[in-house]
């Protein structure tokens, strides 16, 4: 009956996450219109600017995505003439990715995108608050993600009843 006007703090957090994700997506679209490259592409360019001659896997782990996803993105960048993709001399399996001149140029006058805007907002927070936020966020992600994901291949008998999760507050002292 009542539309539950009072959101719990936990739900407020979830909602913030959703809004944030959406904002990032929309921002990507906009970047694509203005720059011609998508957010993912720009992110790859940025990493490649920071660390040249990366291989695909290295790039994947730096961008926290799957190797196949990066593969596609890199292909687009190569097609656009922003990145060079050569095979490693010593190990012909690996790639050696680098920015072209055009890639560096684009990176330089790329207007601030979503990530930069977010960074600016973070930086504007009082230092103590920012640190607390970062700490809590890391703790949350560690608890949620780490969970020492058991080899993604073992659980077979996942019946439809998965019982429960145990995201127990597992006091992890290994935070640092």
């Amino acid at each position: 009956m009542f539309t539950l006007r009072v959101m719990s703090d936990s739900q407020r957090i979830l909602d913030s996450i959703r809004r944030l994700v959406r904002m990032l997506r929309v921002s990507d679209r906009q970047a694509q219109l203005e720059l011609g490259v998508s957010g993912a592409q720009l992110f790859v360019l940025t990493e490649l600017g920071k660390t040249p001659s990366l291989s695909l896997n290295e790039l994947a782990s730096r961008t926290l995505t799957d190797q196949s996803s990066v593969s596609v993105v890199v292909t687009r960048l190569v097609d656009a003439g922003l990145v060079t993709r050569d095979r490693d001399q010593r190990d012909a399996r690996r790639l050696v990715l680098n920015l072209t001149r055009a890639g560096r140029a684009l990176l330089q006058n790329a207007p601030p995108v979503a990530q930069e805007r977010l960074l600016a907002i973070f930086d504007a927070l009082p230092e103590a608050e920012r640190k607390r936020f970062a700490d809590t966020f890391e703790e949350i992600v560690d608890n949620a993600g780490a969970d020492d994901g058991p080899a993604p291949m073992l659980f077979e008998d996942s019946e439809r009843r998965e019982g429960h999760l145990k995201a127990v507050p597992k006091e992890d002292a290994a935070a640092k």
Copy 2:
């Protein structure tokens, strides 16, 4: 050579966001394997469980996504026999969406998914910390989203002249 440089708090936050987003995606994937429905689908089912007889647009604003995205998701749910999609008697443009018996059933024994796991983690935080986190998060998202707008639509973009303007991406279009 160790890349373990001291990340600024802002960088740590950004990184947490990326990890979180990735975790959510992977989790969706898993839910799909176990339940047969993706995270987005499950989310729609949940909203429909909370508020029956929604229209597509209402559902879209509740799920914070575009109408077209929801349209596709709903189509899949209808095909799967989990949701009914009828036209409104009084206004044949609108839809009346509802869960089928199967939809309700699935929703009931759906094991906790990513969102639930996150909620559990949030709830495990000390109350004061949780509240502070929620407050800061909302503040950040508000600043990033509303943010005296990065010019809703500036088409002075040199190479794109489609000739037609689109509805202003004004965030608060949800008001109804």
